[in-house]
Amino acid sequence: MTDALIALVALPLTAALLALLLPRIATALVIFSGLAITASAIALLYGVNTAGALHYELGGWTAGLGIALRADGLSAILLLMIALVMFAASVYASAYFGKASERAQFWPLWLLLWTALNALLLSGDLFNLYVTLELLGLSAVALAALSGKHAAVQAALRYLLVGLLGSMLFLVGVALLYAGYATLDLATLTQVVKPGPIAWSALTLMTFGLLLKTALFPLHFWLPPAHGSAPAPVSAVLSALVVKAAFYLVLRLWLDVFADIVTPTAANLLGVLGAGAVLWGSWQALRAERLKLLAAYSTVAQLGYLFLFFPLLLALPPGPARDVATGGLVMLALTHGFAKAGLFLAIGIVQQRSGHDNIQELGGMVQRLPLTTFAIALAGVALIGLPPSGTFLGKWQLISAAIATGQWLWVAVTAIGSLLAAAYIFRILGHAFGNQPYPHQAVAVAREEWPALLLTLTATLVLGLAGAHVWTLLENGS
């Protein structure tokens, strides 16, 4: 059962090395290891669902002296999402990067990114989290700069510096906690940490560093250029997974480790920033000229919704009500992961076929790229939060919790944000449905279209109709 914990880190890392040494067979390698990783993620989910939270002490040293890998319902679900999204994006990338030389450079970094994501989700140790954060940051930057275009490199450099700043602040927090409690093990810390200046400043610093990495408004400035100029499969995982990883850490710190330290006021502050992100991000997405920028800004907005949950969860007493709301939060994160990844992949197809991604010039797309347009529309349904997408269920819980705790402001923000989302999605579709002749030779490759379609279908149908399982998993896996 716990073997899955090791496999999830060792498999992608080994694959990365092999892809580096054997570039010729790298693509096949990625597909196979991808399947293996997905299988391990499923095994882990199954294990967590039946046996509850799992942990593995590396090197056989007790956690504290050594490092422990941990997985509960939340991390297991996210790990499965990572596996599925990365796998779909890998299939897509195998067609997206035409030249063998491109793929030779791409695959090792890609698998290192995968390693970093899995390691971060599994890590149960503060300093180890710092290392995974850096691994994630560096691999993400290297991939974002891959096109070598000036804009991309510039964005990547800014992305790197911001990321380093973030991890430095995180590290200060770690140092402070070690000074105060002489432990790096999250589980131990959870028991010993007490309200006081050390905990407060540590939490502040770590949260701030992570907010930089998860691009919460107004710290989002670096995200749109970076996500907007990276290669399509990279943008997909940056938007869908990488920012989520940092968010996941915030969630862990606030709801688990520092649960007794966080105050409603602090949570409200996060909520306000989230609201800012929802409104500002959606508004910018509405005004964007290019599809990719639109998608990137919508990521800023969608992350905002996740932060709206903090004041609500803090206001709800621990118990079923809070668990249901938490499920809603996870549901939002999952749906956005799948939908946004699919959206970026679809946009990549449009960009490759028409040589641009200007929203104004999409006329006739619905005739020439029907499946791609359909994928974009499905992603849109999920981003707006219409049924039958999982977002609908998530937002339902968000509004419900807000009403139950009398925090009407968040209801208004959610409503406005959703309508703005509808505006920017149907702005695309409006142009796509236009009947002007589509000037470009559009023959989409199945290896590109199907991943996009399946990801968006997962977001809209699978999560929407089988959503109840998410709640049970979280419950069983706690």
């Binding site: 005739q367 219409l386 409006g430």
Partner: protein, 500 residues
């Protein structure tokens, strides 16, 4: 899964699955597409028949599926839902035939019929929804499915109309959603129950319940085109005629009206609603809409626009009926759900025929069209007279019961004037059309005649649907007292609602 739990789902799938297949059909495969469409339509009617038979023999049908803790997707067949389901599935069949003829050689038919089927599936789901949560889901799905139909032509006007339609309906959907979540936050998960479920709540909740009612009605009012939320309806006229027919008679507008009926009768309970005082407000809104719509219709030269405004006014008869406390008013409102549908779809079919056959879009172009297209014009005339409320056409029945109900409920003071005034206005904007059509001499050349008069005045697929629906409209009036007639049915429902 036995029939009791699967049948409601199958009713939806009978149009959903063909729709999904049709999406992937090549443009050319005309025959296969048509077969799928009609097969789906007939299967649906058959399944609905089984449902009706079962329900009238005390069998209960329910499909239940948990989407999240405390949120079940429930499809449930009760008398009210069956009334709406049978209406929409019958009219869907007719409309499909009409649409096949109408879109004969136009592009992107696979896309069109795909969304067409999705649209009906959503409507049926809406009719079968067993609780507000489910209703909201299908309400939004209906919006999504209709957008591509309105935008179908892809012209700038079509895109614009679709955008306006979307702006209205999605905003409405959001209000409905918030209201529903709020309601759930208070009473938890509740199914639709005849007589309502809220009357038990203590009075401290009453203000909240009034606000929720306002949210729900505002959300539903957008699709039901209650003034001032009706703005999208005339704009959506850019859609092809079959779509307009669907929007006005079967799907969208009806969904709104049906939702209002559900909320008043099966969530709040009509008695409780009147205690809260919300019923009166609804009635006044309906009254204003009725008059306003008719007045606007008076001044439209574009035939479709005139019909659109007449829809605005006619649909509010349903809301008016629900607002009248007492079984008779209820009967009037519910029966009009059916009658308005049959009559209005006839009118739109006819209007579509004029446009397709002779290129007539304006009332002022209709001189003498009756001689060129007698069948169509006859159907149009029957439906129009029905709308005015002239016996023995169905519309008369609705208005009669509404009037009686108002008297019974002691609301005659303002309801009767509204009814009389609107009927006069109806006459005012329909009779001139009939006069032109039958008695004026035709113009030398029609604006754009591209279907020459052959054996029929136009394609059979275009001619028969309006005639069939017109006959139905007559029958619904003539045989109102017969068993299984809409009126009979409506009175059954009314009895249950009032626990008689």
């Amino acid at each position: 899964m036995n029939s009791a739990t699967s049948l409601p789902l199958l009713v939806i799938l009978s149009s959903l699955l063909p729709g999904l297949v049709i999406f992937f059909l090549p443009e050319g495969s005309h025959r296969l597409r048509t077969t799928l469409n009609l097969a789906g339509a007939f299967v649906k009617i058959f399944l609905v028949g089984v449902l009706i038979w079962g329900v009238f023999h005390g069998q209960s049908y329910e499909t239940r599926w948990a989407l999240a803790p405390g949120l079940d997707l429930v499809l449930h067949a009760d008398k009210l839902s069956l009334l709406f389901v049978s209406l929409s599935s019958v009219l869907w069949l007719v409309t499909t035939i009409y649409a096949i003829g109408y879109l004969e050689s136009s592009p992107h038919r696979s896309r069109f019929f795909g969304f067409f089927s999705l649209c009906v599936s959503a409507t049926v789901g809406l009719a079968l929804a067993g609780n507000l949560f489910t209703f909201v889901i299908f309400y939004e799905l209906l919006t999504l499915a209709t957008y591509p139909l309105v935008a179908h032509r892809g012209t700038p006007e079509a895109i614009r109309g679709a955008r306006i339609y979307l702006t209205y309906t999605l905003s409405g959907g959001m209000l409905l959603l918030i209201g529903t979540v709020w309601l759930y936050a208070i009473v938890g998960q509740t199914s639709f129950v005849e007589g309502g479920v809220l009357s038990g709540l203590s009075s401290e909740y009453h203000t909240q319940l009034i606000l929720i009612f306002a949210l729900l009605i505002a959300g539903l009012g957008v699709k039901a085109a209650l003034v001032p939320l009706h703005g999208w309806l005339p704009e959506a006229m850019v859609a092809p005629a079959p779509v307009s027919a669907l929007l006005h008679a079967v799907a969208v507008v009806k969904a709104g009206a049906f939702g209002i009926v559900r909320v008043v009768y099966d969530v709040y309970g009509v008695t409780f609603a009147s205690e809260l005082g919300v019923l009166m407000a609804l009635g006044i809104a309906a009254g204003i809409t009725i008059v306003y719509g008719s007045v606007k219709a008076l001044f439209q030269d574009s035939l479709k626009k005139r019909l659109a405004y007449s829809t605005v006014s006619q649909v509010s008869y349903i809301a008016l009926g629900t607002a009248i406390l007492g079984p008779i008013g209820t009967i009037g409102g519910i029966v009009h759900l059916v009658h308005q549908g049959i009559m209005k779809i006839t009118l739109f079919f006819a209007a579509g025929n004029y446009a397709e056959t002779l290129g007539i879009h304006k009332v002022s172009e209709m001189n003498g069209v009756g001689r060129r297209m007698p069948g169509t014009t006859l159907a149009f005339s029957i439906a129009a007279l029905g709308m005015i409320g002239i016996p023995p056409v169905a519309g008369f029945i609705s208005k009669w019961y509404l009037g009686l109900g108002a008297v019974e409920a002691g609301m005659a003071g303002w309801v009767l004037p509204v009814l009389i005034l609107s009927s006069l206005l109806n006459a005012g904007y329909f009779l001139p059309i009939l006069y032109r059509a039958w008695f004026r001499t035709p113009a030398a050349v029609w604006p754009d005649e591209h279907i020459p008069a052959a054996r029929f005045e136009t394609h059979g697929a275009l001619l028969w649907p309006p005639i069939i629906t017109a006959v139905l409209a007559l029958a619904a009036g003539l045989f109102a007292a017969a068993p299984y007639s809409p009126l009979e049915w409506a009175s059954l429902i009314a009895q249950r609602e009032y626990g008689l």
